[in-house]
Amino acid sequence: MSNYYESEDLKKFGDIGQHAKALADDFFKYYGNVTGTDGALSKREKALIALAVSHAQKCPYCIDAYTTQCLERGANPEQMMEAVHVAAVMQAGITLVHSVQMQNHLKKLVL
């Protein structure tokens, strides 16, 4: 294999059922129920959340899949980029809020 990530491998997602079919079946049923239905959140809102998570988790398969999914749910590029910024700003905030821990420890160390 020349690369760890091959776009063709996205089609093999269903193969995670090999050696653990029952668990995979449970997962895909749950996955379909959560992302494939309009609930308290619309399918479009769920696709935008998934797109943001895809970026935060740096999953190229998911980025491809949810870019398409967002378009098929009627989202537009502005909404998609804002979703990515939510992911980015959350990651920045999570990093920065840990500076409180650093400062707490700093206070302990400094005379």
Binding site: S42, R44, L71, E72, R73, G74, N76
Partner: protein, 340 residues
Amino acid sequence: MKSVVQLKLAPQPSKYDFEEQLRRRGIDLPPLALDTLQVNITKLCNQVCRHCHVDASPSRREKMSPEGVAKCLEILEQHPQIAKLDITGGAPELHPGFDGFVENAVALGKHVMVRHNLTVQLDGNPQTGESKEYLPGFFARNRVEVISSLPYYQEYFTDAQRGSGVFKKSMEAMQRLNREGYGVEGSGLALNLVYNPVGPYLPPAQAGLEADYKRELKAKFGLVFNGLYTITNMPINRFRLHLDKSGQYEAYMEKLLAAFNPAAAEGVMCRSLISVDHQGRIYDCDFNQMLELRATGAGGKPLSIFDFDFDRALKRRIQFGDHCLGCTAGAGSSCGGATA
């Protein structure tokens, strides 16, 4: 010395055999009615849209003859069952006999629909320079239903698919239609919009997207319209070329196949209309027309308006191909939008 053995290989069945999908599910799709005559009167267009299944452009010269137009009117007059005339192109308004065709069909009491690309109002005829600014008033006087493509309520997708500057011109053209009463509640003048995906993906749910269009176009441009039709891109002609060039044909066909919906299949438009080309030849739909897949009657005789027989047309066997998967994927697709 090596011997060369030539093997005669049988043609491989298509991976995307539409009829196999029907057979597997026990679905039969005979014509149900013939209530619409859809006529493609010219391939001339002021635009060059990237997804256009007609390959229409400002350089096309194909147009229906006056005899062809007269024959269509005769068929409409003789068959009250055919209540609707759907005029398409190209930009059908660029046909020199367009106005008369509309007026005569209206005089026969037919419901006339015009596939109007909006921008032709401002661009006029690219070959003659003739202005088409009179169209909104002409449409209103004849009370035709106007059906216009607008692939999104924003400029980015619209211009990507239909050409630079098309979105702004479309907004101006819609304002002119609105001023005539089109799309305005209680006017009885119907303005319906058409959404096409701007790439190899399926359309969003029609009702939700219609609500988005209405909210956004009203808020940003003060525009109103009646309904939104979501239409899937057919993997033929210009869009097929794009799929082939970008290496996405197989993935798109797999998507259409995986999304095959029996309920959408039941509602395909070829079961209630026939499509006529500029030479008077009859097809099951506008897509078959572009593929030159002619509708045939008993004995395989191709159908034509010049020896039109209503019963023969109604009893024909619809011609299907791989591209038909585009009409049966997801919520389905037709000239009137989703079918399921």
